[in-house]
Amino acid sequence: MQIRLNQVSADYQLGPVHSPRVLQDVSLQIAPGTFTAVVGPTGAGKSSLLKVLNGLLLPKSGWAEVGDIKIDSKTSKKALKAVRKHIGMVFQFPESQLFAETVEQDISFGPLNFGASPEAAHDLAIKMIRQVGLDESILQQSPFSLSGGQKRRVAIAGVLAQEPEVIALDEPTAGLDPSGKAELMSLFKQWNKCKRLTVILVTHDMETAARYADDAVVMDQGKVVYHGSVRSLFADSEKLNRWQLDVPEARRFQLAFETYSGIRLPNVCLTEEELAEALIGVGRV
Protein backbone atom coordinates (compact mmCIF):
# COMPACT_ATOMS: atom_id res chain seq x y z
CA MET A 1 0.00 0.00 0.00
CA GLN A 2 1.47 3.26 -1.17
CA ILE A 3 1.93 6.00 1.42
CA ARG A 4 2.48 9.60 0.46
CA LEU A 5 2.76 12.78 2.42
CA ASN A 6 2.67 16.08 0.60
CA GLN A 7 3.85 19.19 2.45
CA VAL A 8 2.15 18.17 5.65
CA SER A 9 2.24 20.63 8.53
CA ALA A 10 0.57 19.84 11.83
CA ASP A 11 0.01 21.37 15.26
CA TYR A 12 -0.69 19.60 18.47
CA GLN A 13 -3.12 20.66 21.15
CA LEU A 14 -3.54 18.96 24.48
CA GLY A 15 -5.51 20.91 27.05
CA PRO A 16 -4.00 24.37 27.35
CA VAL A 17 -0.66 23.18 25.96
CA HIS A 18 -0.24 24.08 22.32
CA SER A 19 2.82 22.88 20.46
CA PRO A 20 3.07 24.73 17.18
CA ARG A 21 4.39 23.11 14.05
CA VAL A 22 5.30 19.61 15.25
CA LEU A 23 5.51 18.77 11.56
CA GLN A 24 6.70 21.29 9.01
CA ASP A 25 6.18 20.76 5.28
CA VAL A 26 6.88 17.08 5.45
CA SER A 27 6.88 15.37 2.06
CA LEU A 28 7.53 11.68 2.05
CA GLN A 29 6.81 8.62 -0.01
CA ILE A 30 7.00 5.12 1.39
CA ALA A 31 6.86 2.27 -1.09
CA PRO A 32 4.79 -0.86 -0.37
CA GLY A 33 6.63 -3.75 1.24
CA THR A 34 9.52 -1.68 2.58
CA PHE A 35 10.85 -1.64 6.14
CA THR A 36 11.48 1.95 7.07
CA ALA A 37 13.04 3.18 10.31
CA VAL A 38 12.13 6.68 11.45
CA VAL A 39 14.88 8.07 13.66
CA GLY A 40 15.80 11.41 15.17
CA PRO A 41 16.09 13.18 18.52
CA THR A 42 13.22 13.39 21.04
CA GLY A 43 10.60 15.89 19.95
CA ALA A 44 11.57 15.70 16.28
CA GLY A 45 8.03 14.73 15.30
CA LYS A 46 8.50 11.00 14.74
CA SER A 47 5.41 9.90 16.65
CA SER A 48 3.41 12.75 15.14
CA LEU A 49 4.34 11.45 11.71
CA LEU A 50 2.82 8.08 12.57
CA LYS A 51 -0.30 9.78 13.95
CA VAL A 52 -0.79 11.65 10.70
CA LEU A 53 -0.63 8.40 8.75
CA ASN A 54 -3.32 6.99 10.99
CA GLY A 55 -5.55 10.04 10.91
CA LEU A 56 -5.17 10.64 14.64
CA LEU A 57 -3.49 13.95 13.96
CA LEU A 58 -4.95 15.77 10.98
CA PRO A 59 -2.69 17.97 8.85
CA LYS A 60 -3.18 21.73 9.24
CA SER A 61 -2.05 22.10 5.68
CA GLY A 62 -0.96 19.67 2.99
CA TRP A 63 -2.31 16.14 2.71
CA ALA A 64 -1.38 12.53 3.26
CA GLU A 65 -2.43 9.64 1.10
CA VAL A 66 -2.76 6.05 2.20
CA GLY A 67 -3.56 3.81 -0.73
CA ASP A 68 -6.20 5.86 -2.50
CA ILE A 69 -7.62 7.54 0.59
CA LYS A 70 -6.61 11.13 1.05
CA ILE A 71 -6.20 12.58 4.54
CA ASP A 72 -6.36 16.31 5.03
CA SER A 73 -7.92 18.69 7.53
CA LYS A 74 -11.42 17.90 6.23
CA THR A 75 -11.38 14.12 5.91
CA SER A 76 -14.56 12.44 7.18
CA LYS A 77 -14.65 10.07 10.15
CA LYS A 78 -15.69 7.25 7.88
CA ALA A 79 -12.68 7.67 5.61
CA LEU A 80 -10.42 7.83 8.65
CA LYS A 81 -11.80 4.53 9.88
CA ALA A 82 -11.00 2.99 6.50
CA VAL A 83 -7.46 4.31 6.78
CA ARG A 84 -7.12 2.85 10.26
CA LYS A 85 -8.19 -0.54 8.98
CA HIS A 86 -5.23 -0.52 6.63
CA ILE A 87 -2.68 0.83 9.07
CA GLY A 88 -2.07 -1.15 12.23
CA MET A 89 -0.60 1.13 14.82
CA VAL A 90 1.41 -0.15 17.76
CA PHE A 91 1.88 2.68 20.23
CA GLN A 92 4.59 3.05 22.82
CA PHE A 93 3.86 0.67 25.68
CA PRO A 94 0.85 -0.82 23.87
CA GLU A 95 0.04 -2.98 26.90
CA SER A 96 -1.64 0.07 28.42
CA GLN A 97 -4.47 -0.27 25.88
CA LEU A 98 -5.59 -3.72 27.09
CA PHE A 99 -9.04 -3.61 28.63
CA ALA A 100 -11.13 -6.70 27.98
CA GLU A 101 -12.00 -9.54 30.32
CA THR A 102 -10.12 -12.11 28.31
CA VAL A 103 -7.19 -11.96 25.95
CA GLU A 104 -9.40 -13.28 23.17
CA GLN A 105 -11.90 -10.45 23.57
CA ASP A 106 -9.11 -7.93 23.54
CA ILE A 107 -7.58 -9.29 20.35
CA SER A 108 -11.01 -9.45 18.70
CA PHE A 109 -11.74 -5.81 19.54
CA GLY A 110 -10.04 -4.46 16.41
CA PRO A 111 -11.45 -6.98 13.91
CA LEU A 112 -14.99 -6.59 15.30
CA ASN A 113 -14.73 -2.81 15.06
CA PHE A 114 -13.69 -3.14 11.45
CA GLY A 115 -16.67 -5.34 10.67
CA ALA A 116 -15.38 -8.91 11.01
CA SER A 117 -17.91 -11.58 12.03
CA PRO A 118 -17.51 -13.05 15.55
CA GLU A 119 -16.37 -16.38 14.07
CA ALA A 120 -13.76 -14.70 11.91
CA ALA A 121 -12.56 -12.67 14.89
CA HIS A 122 -12.27 -15.85 16.95
CA ASP A 123 -10.18 -17.53 14.24
CA LEU A 124 -8.02 -14.44 13.93
CA ALA A 125 -7.42 -14.36 17.67
CA ILE A 126 -6.17 -17.95 17.61
CA LYS A 127 -4.00 -17.29 14.57
CA MET A 128 -2.50 -14.10 15.94
CA ILE A 129 -1.75 -15.37 19.43
CA ARG A 130 0.29 -18.16 17.83
CA GLN A 131 2.00 -15.70 15.51
CA VAL A 132 3.29 -13.58 18.39
CA GLY A 133 4.67 -16.71 20.00
CA LEU A 134 2.18 -17.29 22.81
CA ASP A 135 0.18 -20.38 23.68
CA GLU A 136 -3.48 -20.66 22.71
CA SER A 137 -4.46 -21.39 26.31
CA ILE A 138 -3.69 -17.78 27.19
CA LEU A 139 -6.74 -16.64 25.20
CA GLN A 140 -9.12 -17.34 28.07
CA GLN A 141 -7.03 -15.57 30.71
CA SER A 142 -7.42 -11.99 31.81
CA PRO A 143 -4.91 -9.70 30.11
CA PHE A 144 -4.22 -8.10 33.50
CA SER A 145 -2.90 -11.35 34.91
CA LEU A 146 -0.11 -11.66 32.33
CA SER A 147 3.53 -10.66 32.62
CA GLY A 148 4.77 -7.45 31.01
CA GLY A 149 6.27 -9.19 27.98
CA GLN A 150 3.15 -11.29 27.43
CA LYS A 151 0.94 -8.21 27.66
CA ARG A 152 3.05 -6.51 25.03
CA ARG A 153 2.65 -9.48 22.69
CA VAL A 154 -1.10 -9.66 23.27
CA ALA A 155 -1.41 -5.96 22.50
CA ILE A 156 0.58 -6.39 19.30
CA ALA A 157 -1.52 -9.42 18.35
CA GLY A 158 -4.57 -7.21 18.85
CA VAL A 159 -3.28 -4.70 16.34
CA LEU A 160 -2.20 -7.34 13.83
CA ALA A 161 -5.59 -9.04 14.08
CA GLN A 162 -7.15 -6.24 12.07
CA GLU A 163 -5.00 -7.55 9.19
CA PRO A 164 -3.40 -4.27 8.23
CA GLU A 165 -1.29 -3.81 5.14
CA VAL A 166 0.98 -1.35 6.91
CA ILE A 167 2.19 -1.61 10.48
CA ALA A 168 3.38 1.51 12.20
CA LEU A 169 5.44 0.76 15.29
CA ASP A 170 6.35 3.34 17.91
CA GLU A 171 9.27 2.00 19.97
CA PRO A 172 7.73 -1.48 20.10
CA THR A 173 10.59 -3.02 22.07
CA ALA A 174 11.06 -0.33 24.74
CA GLY A 175 11.43 -1.93 28.15
CA LEU A 176 11.73 -5.51 26.88
CA ASP A 177 14.64 -7.82 27.70
CA PRO A 178 17.20 -8.41 24.91
CA SER A 179 15.84 -11.81 23.86
CA GLY A 180 12.24 -10.57 23.82
CA LYS A 181 13.37 -7.62 21.77
CA ALA A 182 15.17 -9.76 19.18
CA GLU A 183 12.23 -12.17 18.93
CA LEU A 184 9.72 -9.41 18.38
CA MET A 185 11.85 -7.59 15.84
CA SER A 186 12.52 -10.72 13.80
CA LEU A 187 8.79 -11.36 13.86
CA PHE A 188 8.16 -7.95 12.29
CA LYS A 189 10.95 -8.57 9.80
CA GLN A 190 9.44 -11.91 8.88
CA TRP A 191 6.01 -10.38 8.28
CA ASN A 192 7.65 -7.71 6.20
CA LYS A 193 9.45 -10.33 4.08
CA CYS A 194 6.80 -13.05 3.75
CA LYS A 195 3.56 -11.06 3.73
CA ARG A 196 4.95 -7.98 2.02
CA LEU A 197 3.70 -5.86 4.90
CA THR A 198 4.97 -2.32 4.91
CA VAL A 199 6.65 -1.65 8.25
CA ILE A 200 7.32 1.80 9.61
CA LEU A 201 9.35 1.71 12.80
CA VAL A 202 10.00 4.68 15.06
CA THR A 203 13.01 3.98 17.22
CA HIS A 204 15.84 5.54 19.19
CA ASP A 205 17.88 2.41 18.93
CA MET A 206 20.26 2.59 15.99
CA GLU A 207 21.24 -1.07 16.37
CA THR A 208 17.63 -2.07 15.70
CA ALA A 209 17.35 0.38 12.80
CA ALA A 210 20.60 -0.87 11.28
CA ARG A 211 19.80 -4.54 11.67
CA TYR A 212 16.17 -4.67 10.54
CA ALA A 213 15.33 -1.66 8.38
CA ASP A 214 16.00 -1.17 4.68
CA ASP A 215 15.28 2.53 4.54
CA ALA A 216 15.73 5.29 7.05
CA VAL A 217 13.90 8.57 7.54
CA VAL A 218 15.73 11.06 9.74
CA MET A 219 13.61 13.74 11.35
CA ASP A 220 14.81 16.88 13.06
CA GLN A 221 12.63 19.67 14.45
CA GLY A 222 9.56 18.59 12.56
CA LYS A 223 11.27 18.18 9.22
CA VAL A 224 12.46 15.20 7.23
CA VAL A 225 16.16 15.77 6.73
CA TYR A 226 17.09 12.42 5.21
CA HIS A 227 15.27 9.66 3.42
CA GLY A 228 17.34 6.91 1.86
CA SER A 229 18.86 3.55 2.52
CA VAL A 230 20.00 2.69 6.02
CA ARG A 231 23.40 1.68 4.74
CA SER A 232 24.23 4.97 3.11
CA LEU A 233 22.99 6.82 6.21
CA PHE A 234 25.40 4.95 8.46
CA ALA A 235 28.20 5.32 5.91
CA ASP A 236 28.13 9.07 6.41
CA SER A 237 29.62 9.76 9.85
CA GLU A 238 29.47 13.50 9.38
CA LYS A 239 25.70 13.49 8.91
CA LEU A 240 25.20 11.13 11.83
CA ASN A 241 27.12 13.57 14.00
CA ARG A 242 25.09 16.50 12.84
CA TRP A 243 21.79 14.77 13.71
CA GLN A 244 23.21 13.29 16.93
CA LEU A 245 22.53 9.74 15.88
CA ASP A 246 24.41 6.83 17.40
CA VAL A 247 26.60 4.66 15.22
CA PRO A 248 25.85 0.91 15.43
CA GLU A 249 28.51 -1.03 17.28
CA ALA A 250 29.70 -3.05 14.28
CA ARG A 251 30.08 0.09 12.22
CA ARG A 252 31.96 1.79 15.05
CA PHE A 253 34.32 -1.15 15.27
CA GLN A 254 34.82 -1.00 11.51
CA LEU A 255 35.69 2.71 11.61
CA ALA A 256 38.20 2.23 14.44
CA PHE A 257 39.66 -0.80 12.68
CA GLU A 258 40.08 1.13 9.45
CA THR A 259 41.77 4.05 11.23
CA TYR A 260 44.25 1.89 13.15
CA SER A 261 45.06 -0.69 10.49
CA GLY A 262 44.89 1.47 7.42
CA ILE A 263 42.91 -1.31 5.73
CA ARG A 264 39.55 -0.33 4.27
CA LEU A 265 36.81 -2.91 4.37
CA PRO A 266 34.92 -3.30 1.08
CA ASN A 267 31.47 -2.43 2.39
CA VAL A 268 29.69 -0.63 5.22
CA CYS A 269 29.02 -3.21 7.94
CA LEU A 270 25.88 -2.77 10.03
CA THR A 271 25.78 -6.04 11.96
CA GLU A 272 28.34 -8.30 13.60
CA GLU A 273 27.75 -10.96 10.94
CA GLU A 274 28.55 -8.58 8.12
CA LEU A 275 31.58 -7.31 10.00
CA ALA A 276 32.90 -10.79 10.64
CA GLU A 277 32.48 -11.72 6.99
CA ALA A 278 34.22 -8.57 5.79
CA LEU A 279 37.12 -9.09 8.22
CA ILE A 280 37.54 -12.72 7.16
CA GLY A 281 37.47 -11.60 3.54
CA VAL A 282 40.21 -9.05 4.17
CA GLY A 283 42.27 -11.58 6.13
CA ARG A 284 42.21 -14.09 3.28
CA VAL A 285 43.63 -11.70 0.72
Partner: protein, 267 residues
Protein backbone atom coordinates in the same frame (compact mmCIF):
# COMPACT_ATOMS: atom_id res chain seq x y z
CA UNK B 1 -12.08 17.98 28.17
CA UNK B 2 -10.51 21.22 27.06
CA UNK B 3 -13.59 23.13 28.14
CA UNK B 4 -13.22 22.53 31.84
CA UNK B 5 -12.14 25.78 33.46
CA UNK B 6 -12.65 24.87 37.09
CA UNK B 7 -9.35 24.14 38.79
CA UNK B 8 -7.25 25.39 35.93
CA UNK B 9 -4.49 27.90 36.55
CA UNK B 10 -3.88 30.81 34.21
CA UNK B 11 -0.36 32.15 34.73
CA UNK B 12 -0.02 35.90 35.13
CA UNK B 13 1.25 38.60 37.45
CA UNK B 14 -1.88 40.60 38.21
CA UNK B 15 -2.51 41.95 41.74
CA UNK B 16 -4.85 39.00 42.30
CA UNK B 17 -2.21 36.49 41.24
CA UNK B 18 0.18 37.94 43.79
CA UNK B 19 -2.16 37.65 46.77
CA UNK B 20 -1.60 35.01 49.40
CA UNK B 21 -3.79 31.96 48.65
CA UNK B 22 -5.19 32.12 52.19
CA UNK B 23 -6.37 35.70 51.66
CA UNK B 24 -7.94 34.78 48.33
CA UNK B 25 -9.69 31.73 49.73
CA UNK B 26 -11.04 33.56 52.76
CA UNK B 27 -12.22 36.38 50.50
CA UNK B 28 -13.80 33.89 48.09
CA UNK B 29 -15.68 32.09 50.84
CA UNK B 30 -16.70 35.39 52.40
CA UNK B 31 -18.05 36.52 49.04
CA UNK B 32 -20.42 33.56 48.91
CA UNK B 33 -22.03 34.80 52.12
CA UNK B 34 -21.89 38.41 51.02
CA UNK B 35 -23.85 37.59 47.88
CA UNK B 36 -26.75 36.64 50.13
CA UNK B 37 -26.67 40.09 51.71
CA UNK B 38 -27.75 41.70 48.47
CA UNK B 39 -31.45 42.23 49.08
CA UNK B 40 -32.26 45.30 47.03
CA UNK B 41 -31.51 46.89 43.68
CA UNK B 42 -28.58 48.91 44.94
CA UNK B 43 -27.11 45.80 46.56
CA UNK B 44 -27.45 43.91 43.32
CA UNK B 45 -25.61 46.63 41.42
CA UNK B 46 -22.86 46.68 44.03
CA UNK B 47 -22.55 42.89 43.79
CA UNK B 48 -22.08 43.01 40.03
CA UNK B 49 -19.73 46.00 40.19
CA UNK B 50 -17.50 44.23 42.71
CA UNK B 51 -17.52 41.04 40.63
CA UNK B 52 -16.47 42.84 37.46
CA UNK B 53 -13.87 44.79 39.44
CA UNK B 54 -12.29 41.52 40.64
CA UNK B 55 -12.53 39.96 37.17
CA UNK B 56 -10.80 42.87 35.49
CA UNK B 57 -8.10 42.90 38.20
CA UNK B 58 -7.12 39.34 37.22
CA UNK B 59 -6.24 40.54 33.69
CA UNK B 60 -7.76 37.34 32.31
CA UNK B 61 -10.18 37.72 29.42
CA UNK B 62 -13.87 37.73 30.41
CA UNK B 63 -14.48 34.98 27.87
CA UNK B 64 -12.60 32.57 30.10
CA UNK B 65 -14.99 33.36 32.96
CA UNK B 66 -18.03 32.90 30.75
CA UNK B 67 -16.71 29.51 29.77
CA UNK B 68 -16.50 28.70 33.48
CA UNK B 69 -20.26 29.29 33.81
CA UNK B 70 -21.15 27.12 30.84
CA UNK B 71 -21.07 23.69 32.55
CA UNK B 72 -23.50 25.00 35.20
CA UNK B 73 -25.79 26.95 32.90
CA UNK B 74 -28.56 24.29 32.91
CA UNK B 75 -28.63 24.14 36.68
CA UNK B 76 -28.82 27.93 36.83
CA UNK B 77 -31.57 28.16 34.24
CA UNK B 78 -33.52 25.40 35.97
CA UNK B 79 -33.55 27.22 39.32
CA UNK B 80 -34.29 30.53 37.65
CA UNK B 81 -37.32 29.11 35.82
CA UNK B 82 -38.50 27.35 38.94
CA UNK B 83 -38.51 30.73 40.68
CA UNK B 84 -40.25 32.50 37.82
CA UNK B 85 -42.96 29.88 37.40
CA UNK B 86 -43.83 28.97 40.95
CA UNK B 87 -43.35 32.06 43.09
CA UNK B 88 -46.48 34.07 43.71
CA UNK B 89 -46.84 37.56 45.07
CA UNK B 90 -47.00 41.17 43.92
CA UNK B 91 -48.50 41.81 40.54
CA UNK B 92 -49.42 38.63 38.69
CA UNK B 93 -48.83 38.91 34.95
CA UNK B 94 -49.89 35.49 33.80
CA UNK B 95 -51.66 32.46 35.23
CA UNK B 96 -52.05 28.97 33.78
CA UNK B 97 -53.02 26.21 36.19
CA UNK B 98 -50.46 26.11 38.97
CA UNK B 99 -48.05 28.24 36.94
CA UNK B 100 -47.97 31.93 37.81
CA UNK B 101 -45.62 34.53 36.50
CA UNK B 102 -45.54 37.21 39.12
CA UNK B 103 -43.57 40.29 40.04
CA UNK B 104 -41.98 38.60 43.04
CA UNK B 105 -41.09 35.57 40.96
CA UNK B 106 -39.25 37.65 38.41
CA UNK B 107 -37.40 39.63 41.08
CA UNK B 108 -36.45 36.47 42.97
CA UNK B 109 -35.22 34.87 39.77
CA UNK B 110 -33.06 37.90 39.04
CA UNK B 111 -31.48 37.73 42.50
CA UNK B 112 -30.86 34.00 42.30
CA UNK B 113 -29.35 34.28 38.85
CA UNK B 114 -27.08 37.09 40.03
CA UNK B 115 -25.96 35.19 43.10
CA UNK B 116 -25.16 32.07 41.11
CA UNK B 117 -23.22 33.86 38.41
CA UNK B 118 -21.31 36.28 40.63
CA UNK B 119 -20.31 33.46 42.98
CA UNK B 120 -19.07 31.42 40.03
CA UNK B 121 -17.19 34.40 38.59
CA UNK B 122 -15.48 35.30 41.86
CA UNK B 123 -14.55 31.74 42.83
CA UNK B 124 -13.32 31.15 39.29
CA UNK B 125 -11.19 34.27 39.68
CA UNK B 126 -9.66 32.68 42.77
CA UNK B 127 -8.93 29.30 41.17
CA UNK B 128 -7.73 30.79 37.87
CA UNK B 129 -5.13 32.93 39.62
CA UNK B 130 -3.92 30.42 42.21
CA UNK B 131 -1.62 27.51 41.48
CA UNK B 132 -3.12 24.18 42.56
CA UNK B 133 -0.24 23.70 44.98
CA UNK B 134 -0.91 27.11 46.54
CA UNK B 135 -4.56 26.18 46.87
CA UNK B 136 -3.74 23.03 48.80
CA UNK B 137 -1.26 24.94 50.98
CA UNK B 138 -3.93 27.50 51.70
CA UNK B 139 -6.50 24.82 52.38
CA UNK B 140 -4.11 23.03 54.69
CA UNK B 141 -3.70 26.24 56.68
CA UNK B 142 -7.41 26.98 56.82
CA UNK B 143 -8.25 23.45 57.93
CA UNK B 144 -5.70 23.50 60.75
CA UNK B 145 -8.26 24.09 63.51
CA UNK B 146 -9.84 20.76 62.55
CA UNK B 147 -6.76 19.00 63.92
CA UNK B 148 -8.22 19.38 67.38
CA UNK B 149 -11.07 17.18 66.22
CA UNK B 150 -8.47 14.60 65.11
CA UNK B 151 -9.08 15.24 61.43
CA UNK B 152 -5.91 14.17 59.55
CA UNK B 153 -5.45 17.57 57.93
CA UNK B 154 -1.92 17.04 56.63
CA UNK B 155 -2.80 13.70 55.08
CA UNK B 156 -5.88 15.15 53.44
CA UNK B 157 -3.94 18.02 51.96
CA UNK B 158 -1.16 15.78 50.65
CA UNK B 159 -3.81 13.53 49.09
CA UNK B 160 -5.34 16.57 47.47
CA UNK B 161 -2.06 17.89 46.16
CA UNK B 162 -1.10 14.49 44.77
CA UNK B 163 -4.46 14.20 43.00
CA UNK B 164 -4.09 17.65 41.51
CA UNK B 165 -0.53 16.90 40.51
CA UNK B 166 -1.61 13.89 38.48
CA UNK B 167 -4.46 15.50 36.55
CA UNK B 168 -2.21 16.46 33.61
CA UNK B 169 -0.79 12.92 33.52
CA UNK B 170 -4.27 11.50 33.51
CA UNK B 171 -5.34 13.77 30.65
CA UNK B 172 -2.24 12.76 28.75
CA UNK B 173 -2.89 9.10 29.33
CA UNK B 174 -6.55 9.43 28.37
CA UNK B 175 -5.50 10.97 25.09
CA UNK B 176 -2.98 8.21 24.49
CA UNK B 177 -5.42 5.40 25.20
CA UNK B 178 -8.13 7.07 23.13
CA UNK B 179 -5.72 7.28 20.22
CA UNK B 180 -4.75 3.65 20.64
CA UNK B 181 -8.37 2.48 20.67
CA UNK B 182 -9.27 4.72 17.74
CA UNK B 183 -6.41 3.14 15.84
CA UNK B 184 -8.11 -0.19 16.54
CA UNK B 185 -11.29 1.10 14.99
CA UNK B 186 -13.15 2.34 18.06
CA UNK B 187 -15.50 5.25 17.43
CA UNK B 188 -16.42 7.65 20.20
CA UNK B 189 -19.43 9.91 20.52
CA UNK B 190 -21.57 8.16 17.93
CA UNK B 191 -24.66 5.98 18.05
CA UNK B 192 -27.17 5.57 20.85
CA UNK B 193 -26.42 6.63 24.41
CA UNK B 194 -25.90 3.00 25.38
CA UNK B 195 -23.40 2.48 22.59
CA UNK B 196 -21.57 5.64 23.53
CA UNK B 197 -21.30 4.47 27.13
CA UNK B 198 -20.09 1.09 26.00
CA UNK B 199 -17.44 2.72 23.83
CA UNK B 200 -15.97 4.29 26.96
CA UNK B 201 -15.12 0.96 28.60
CA UNK B 202 -11.93 0.49 26.53
CA UNK B 203 -10.76 3.88 27.77
CA UNK B 204 -11.71 3.75 31.42
CA UNK B 205 -10.53 0.25 32.24
CA UNK B 206 -6.93 0.82 31.14
CA UNK B 207 -7.05 4.24 32.78
CA UNK B 208 -8.18 2.73 36.08
CA UNK B 209 -5.66 -0.06 36.05
CA UNK B 210 -2.91 2.40 35.11
CA UNK B 211 -3.86 4.77 37.93
CA UNK B 212 -3.93 1.96 40.47
CA UNK B 213 -0.49 0.83 39.38
CA UNK B 214 0.83 4.36 39.53
CA UNK B 215 -0.70 4.86 42.97
CA UNK B 216 1.06 1.80 44.27
CA UNK B 217 4.36 2.85 42.74
CA UNK B 218 4.02 6.32 44.20
CA UNK B 219 3.25 4.91 47.63
CA UNK B 220 6.38 2.77 47.46
CA UNK B 221 8.51 5.70 46.35
CA UNK B 222 7.15 7.83 49.19
CA UNK B 223 7.91 5.06 51.67
CA UNK B 224 11.43 4.70 50.33
CA UNK B 225 12.01 8.41 50.61
CA UNK B 226 10.96 8.38 54.24
CA UNK B 227 7.39 9.70 54.18
CA UNK B 228 5.67 9.03 57.49
CA UNK B 229 2.13 10.14 57.95
CA UNK B 230 2.19 10.53 61.71
CA UNK B 231 5.14 12.92 61.88
CA UNK B 232 4.83 16.70 61.59
CA UNK B 233 5.85 17.91 58.15
CA UNK B 234 7.67 21.06 57.16
CA UNK B 235 6.93 22.68 53.83
CA UNK B 236 9.21 23.77 51.03
CA UNK B 237 6.77 26.48 49.97
CA UNK B 238 6.22 28.92 52.82
CA UNK B 239 3.21 31.18 52.74
CA UNK B 240 3.89 34.77 53.80
CA UNK B 241 1.14 37.18 54.73
CA UNK B 242 1.83 40.64 53.29
CA UNK B 243 0.20 44.04 53.58
CA UNK B 244 -1.75 43.57 50.35
CA UNK B 245 -3.32 40.44 51.81
CA UNK B 246 -4.52 42.47 54.78
CA UNK B 247 -5.81 45.05 52.30
CA UNK B 248 -7.71 42.31 50.50
CA UNK B 249 -9.41 41.24 53.71
CA UNK B 250 -10.16 44.89 54.54
CA UNK B 251 -11.81 45.35 51.15
CA UNK B 252 -14.01 42.37 51.90
CA UNK B 253 -14.90 43.78 55.33
CA UNK B 254 -15.68 47.10 53.67
CA UNK B 255 -17.96 45.31 51.23
CA UNK B 256 -19.78 43.63 54.11
CA UNK B 257 -20.17 47.01 55.81
CA UNK B 258 -21.46 48.58 52.61
CA UNK B 259 -24.12 45.88 52.24
CA UNK B 260 -25.11 46.22 55.89
CA UNK B 261 -25.51 49.97 55.50
CA UNK B 262 -27.47 49.56 52.25
CA UNK B 263 -29.83 47.08 53.86
CA UNK B 264 -30.35 49.29 56.93
CA UNK B 265 -30.82 52.56 55.03
CA UNK B 266 -33.24 51.21 52.47
CA UNK B 267 -35.33 49.30 54.94
Amino acid sequence: MNKLILGRYFPGDSPIHKLDPRAKMIAGIAFIFISFMAKNGQGLILLWLFTFFVMSLTKIGFRVFFRGVRPLIWLILFTVFLQILFTAGGIIYFTWGPIKISEFGLINALFIFSRFVTIIFVTTAVTLTTKPMELTDGLNFLMRPLRFLHVPVDELSIMLSISLRFIPNLLDETQRIMDAQKARGAVFGEGSLFRQMKALVPIFLPLFSGSLNRGEELANVMDVRGYRSELPRSSFRQLTWKIKDTVCILVILLLIAAFAVLNLVID
